[in-house]
């Protein structure tokens, strides 16, 4: 086995085991910690796919910000009333849907005739990324800032509730 394969299988195993940990552990805080593990492993997969910038973004935003937000909300709502991330009555239906999706997509991935590695792929340079973002994607970029603005204002208003002036 080449070292690329070893790394891929290791990172993939960490991703899947982390994700299973999120689902199977009964304590919500533990499941958030497992989520961090799974998301960091996804950053490792991004590095394997030579998307270094995205790996850094993944660690910054998912490994840092989003999971912190999730842990904060557990802290702010009294999860003691519900520390266990219990499965609801939809469990059999959920298992059926997830299983059906898994079987279908794996079958589709295996039966399709994908081209192999057609040419040497280099790492996407950061500067090229910046150029593409500000030249070809300038409008979505501005819209993204609007989305963030709306999210910020909306979340502040929602979190305030009725209190305040």
């Amino acid at each position: 086995m080449s070292y690329e394969e070893v790394i891929f299988y290791f990172v993939a195993a960490v991703t899947v085991l982390g994700a299973l940990g999120v689902v199977l552990t009964r304590n919500v805080v533990h499941s958030a910690l497992f989520l961090i593990l799974a998301l960091l492993a996804v950053a490792g997969v991004f590095i394997l796919l030579s998307a270094e910038f995205l790996a850094i973004v993944q660690i910054l935003i998912y490994g840092g910000a989003v999971t912190i937000l999730i842990l904060f909300v557990m802290m702010l709502t009294r999860v003691r009333d519900m520390p266990q991330a219990l499965d609801g009555p939809q469990r059999p239906f959920a298992a059926l849907a997830a299983g059906a999706f898994l079987v279908l997509s794996v079958l589709a991935a295996l039966s399709s005739d994908w081209p192999g590695e057609t040419r040497e792929i280099t790492v996407v340079p950061f500067r090229e990324m910046g150029e593409a973002l500000f030249r070809d994607w300038a409008v979505p970029f501005e819209v993204a800032s609007l989305v963030l603005l709306v999210a910020l204002i909306g979340a502040i208003v929602l979190a305030r509730g009725e209190e305040g002036e």
Partner: protein, 123 residues
């Protein structure tokens, strides 16, 4: 390219081996009766020094903490967008500059709103 990340992998390995090795060696020395074991209620405390712990960690904190997490997330995303701009500054030229300034101005409106709504203050 991928091999450059070997250093990062090595660092990760080191970061894993160091704490795990410490715990494992302490445990093994305990098994071999080399490490003395004298339990004491004070030593078993969560913080051996400092204020005595009281109650559980599962209390409800003030929701105002959420504002800080929220602002952190939004401006973390902003920082991510500024990074590729900073790297490609000379190629991005005036168009890129205008795009980024617009971006920052739009998000500053959000900051001003948060300020105005006293989300930055601890009331």
């Amino acid at each position: 390219m991928l091999s450059d990340w070997g250093h990062v992998g090595f660092l990760l390995l080191l970061a894993l081996v160091f704490p795990v090795g410490g715990i494992a060696s302490s445990w093994m020395l305990g098994l071999l009766k080399i490490r003395p074991q004298a339990p004491d209620p004070i030593k078993e405390d969560i913080f051996e020094c400092g204020v005595e712990t009281e109650g559980t960690a599962w209390v409800q904190f003030n929701f105002r903490y959420y504002y800080y997490a929220l602002l952190f997330v939004i401006f973390d995303v902003e920082a991510v967008f500024l990074y590729p701009w900073a790297v490609s500054l000379d190629e991005a030229s005036v168009t890129g500059f205008i795009a980024v300034v617009t971006f920052i101005v739009i998000l500053t409106i959000g900051l001003a709103y948060a300020w105005r709504k006293k989300a930055l203050e601890w009331l």
